[in-house]
């Protein structure tokens, strides 16, 4: 383990991009995945008992769409403004 740390330690000298370790990548991935699952749930399983709980709104579908939009916004911001660590 020690040699691997020594190797990554060298990177600290200059600026580097956070790349995949940018937390926005994780946010976009997770929230996007949740959104897609919810949209599928909303389209496929939209039962009467669910409708009774939500007061006749397809809550999964709408919440899913909202989450996908947020996820796309994060993905775009990662592309446009990458984090640089000095």
């Amino acid at each position: 383990m020690t040699d691997e740390r020594a190797a990554t330690g060298g990177e600290h000298a200059g600026p580097r991009r956070a790349g995949a370790f940018d937390v926005r990548v994780f946010i976009a991935g997770l929230i996007g995945f949740y959104g897609i699952v919810l949209i599928i749930m909303g389209l496929v399983v939209d039962s009467a008992s669910d409708r009774a709980k939500t007061g006749d709104v397809n809550a999964n579908l709408w919440a899913g769409i909202g989450m996908v939009v947020i996820a796309v916004a994060f993905a775009v911001s990662v592309r446009l403004r990458p984090v640089v660590i000095e």
Partner: protein, 557 residues
């Protein structure tokens, strides 16, 4: 008999929960590859941007106690609960960013207790470091216990399985990635919580007929009434019959002493700001955090109020039915059970589990910093290599998790004892704030005054609390805590001033960076600050935040 809290979660709900935990562990592994020194592990190498630390700042506090407790208050008291945010948290967070942070960040200390040591020496340092470390273990244990009871109640897993599994997950991601992993997860968790609570609030509002429907129902409900729709004067919350006293109690007790004490000296919070790359970013952390924070009650307190007029069990409880079989703490869980379909249900459960674990992770990552830098390095083994303290930090995490599991089992057995202990540790916060403020602004304050003030302020708070417990005077609601905090503040200041006048002060040469009058301006400010755009300038942002929160206070009076 069927447990009223048992929620029928489907396979999709389990999948959503599982995916979240997989991502959490992935972050731990990814963060590990970047950890190369103890500063990396314990303070994230001071490299994170302010918006990340700002969200982590909120999440570190958005644990079990906050979500369960504030929605419970919402169900029981209604709008006066908003004071915890708009009078309590926000002004204190702005004060931390504008006034206190230059000293924390500028003096290059690595923890709040270390600031105490540099300003007042070992006496005050030991009092602060030990009480803080103990409190963190205790609170981590309570978070863990609440987490396990929710898992047990919702999914039916045995308590000890839920306990050990949750502890194992928290342990693995902190030991792997240290503070970076904890902070990244906190940011992620913030979004999951919003994704869980925002639909809950909107659907709940839809079920009660929108905002107007909620207002009507709260006004006419049994145990509700019009005073639950206005945040002022909040007599029921404070427990004072007199409205003027109630307002004074809320502003001075809750706002000035309790919240300032909590937000400005609690290392769990301050640590997030210390992980940033510049003075401006450190100061901006709590200030940026104040913007989302002021809107969080809308998705925490409002669902509690909705539960109070929509969920049958909570309505019975509000009407005074002792046999309702639940407590106000169950409000938000019952609302989730009643309004969310499979799918959203899984996200809501994930959000809650994430919040409880992040609360615990925050306590443990603050504990291991204080333990390795303030206790071990200072008093046990001085002058070892950095790698040695990195190892101590990792082992401290393992030890703390073990102790938290122990505390959680104790909490499971003696519920009341834990409540009392938590109240007791709450007493340390108010005098701490008094000592800090006096120490920063008055260079004459001496080392002896530091620890004597802390101890006597704490005793002052304990005395007031005991008098209320044995019935010398009686304040229902939260009034006793407000008065105890006020007493602690006054006693601490008085005793510190008297002791300072009788003992020799520290030489001025040792106070640079620690006391306002002895700190050159350059050290307190960021040289690049004047070139920053307004949205990165801490003081301007704080001004905007203050205007917004004042508006919220006025709109919802």
């Amino acid at each position: 008999m069927d447990d009223p809290l048992r929620i029928g979660a489907g396979i999709v709900d389990y999948l959503l929960i599982f995916v979240y935990f997989a991502v959490v562990l992935l972050i731990g592994v990814a963060a590990r590859r970047r950890v190369s020194s103890s500063l990396d592990f314990l303070l994230s190498g001071r490299s994170l941007p302010a918006w990340i630390t700002g969200l982590a700042f909120i999440s570190a506090n958005l644990g079990a106690v906050e979500i369960i407790g504030m929605s419970a208050n919402g169900a029981e008291y209604g709008m006066p609960t908003m004071h915890y945010y708009w009078i309590g948290a926000i002004p204190a967070m702005l004060f931390l960013g504008v006034v206190m942070m230059p000293f924390y960040y500028g003096s290059k200390v690595r923890s709040v207790p270390e600031f105490m040591r540099r300003r007042f020496g070992p006496g005050a340092h030991l009092v602060n470091a030990i009480s803080f470390a103990l409190a963190q273990i205790l609170i981590a244990g309570i978070n863990l216990f609440l987490l396990a009871t929710v898992v047990n109640g919702l999914l039916g897993w045995p308590l000890w399985v839920a306990l050990l599994l949750a502890a194992a997950i928290v342990l693995s991601y902190i030991t792997l990635g240290g503070l970076s992993a904890a902070i990244y997860n906190e940011v992620l968790q913030f979004f999951v919580i919003v994704a869980a609570l925002l639909p809950l609030t909107l659907i709940g509002l839809h079920r009660v007929g929108g905002v107007d429907g909620l207002i009507d129902k709260v006004r006419t409900s049994v145990g509700g009434g019009a005073e639950q729709l206005n945040s002022w004067p909040g007599n029921e919350l404070a427990g004072f019959g007199n409205s003027v006293l109630s307002v004074v109690g809320i502003v001075f007790g809750l706002g000035f002493v309790l919240s300032f004490g909590y937000w400005t000296t609690n290392f769990v919070e301050v640590q997030r700001a210390m992980a940033t790359k510049s003075m401006s970013a450190a100061r901006s952390t709590p200030i940026i955090a104040s913007f989302p924070k002021m809107f969080i009650p809308f998705i925490v307190v409002i669902p509690g109020m909705i539960a109070g007029v929509l969920v049958p069990e909570v309505m019975r409880l509000k009407a005074g039915d002792q046999a309702a079989g639940i407590t106000y703490n169950d409000s938000i869980l019952l609302l989730i059970r009643d309004v969310l379909p499979t799918g959203l249900l899984g996200i809501a459960l994930t959000g809650l589990l994430a919040a409880f674990m992040a609360g615990m992770a925050a306590n443990i990552s603050a504990f291991n910093t204080v333990f390795s830098y303030d206790l071990w390095q200072q008093y046990v083994k001085k002058g070892r290599s950095d790698g040695y303290y990195l190892k101590v930090g990792r082992w401290a995490t393992v030890g703390a998790t073990g102790l938290a599991i122990g505390t959680a089992f104790i909490a499971a057995g003696y519920g009341n004892l834990m409540t009392y202990l938590q109240t007791l540790f709450g007493f340390f916060n108010a005098p701490l704030f008094a000592t800090f403020i006096l120490g920063i602004f008055w260079k004459r304050m001496t080392a002896t005054a530091g620890w004597v003030g802390l101890v006597s302020g704490t005793l002052g708070a304990v005395t007031v609390w005991l008098l209320n417990e044995v019935g010398v005077f009686s304040l229902p609601g939260q009034g006793a805590a407000f008065v105890a905090a006020g007493a602690a503040f006054v006693v601490d200041i008085t005793v510190s001033v008297l002791v300072s006048l009788m003992t020799p002060p520290k030489p001025a040469s040792e106070l640079g960076g620690l006391v306002l009058s002895e700190t050159p301006r350059q050290q307190r400010t960021d040289p690049a600050a004047s070139r920053l755009p307004w949205y990165r300038a801490p003081v301007k942002l704080a001004g905007i935040s203050l205007v917004l929160v004042t508006a919220l206070n006025v709109i919802f009076r």
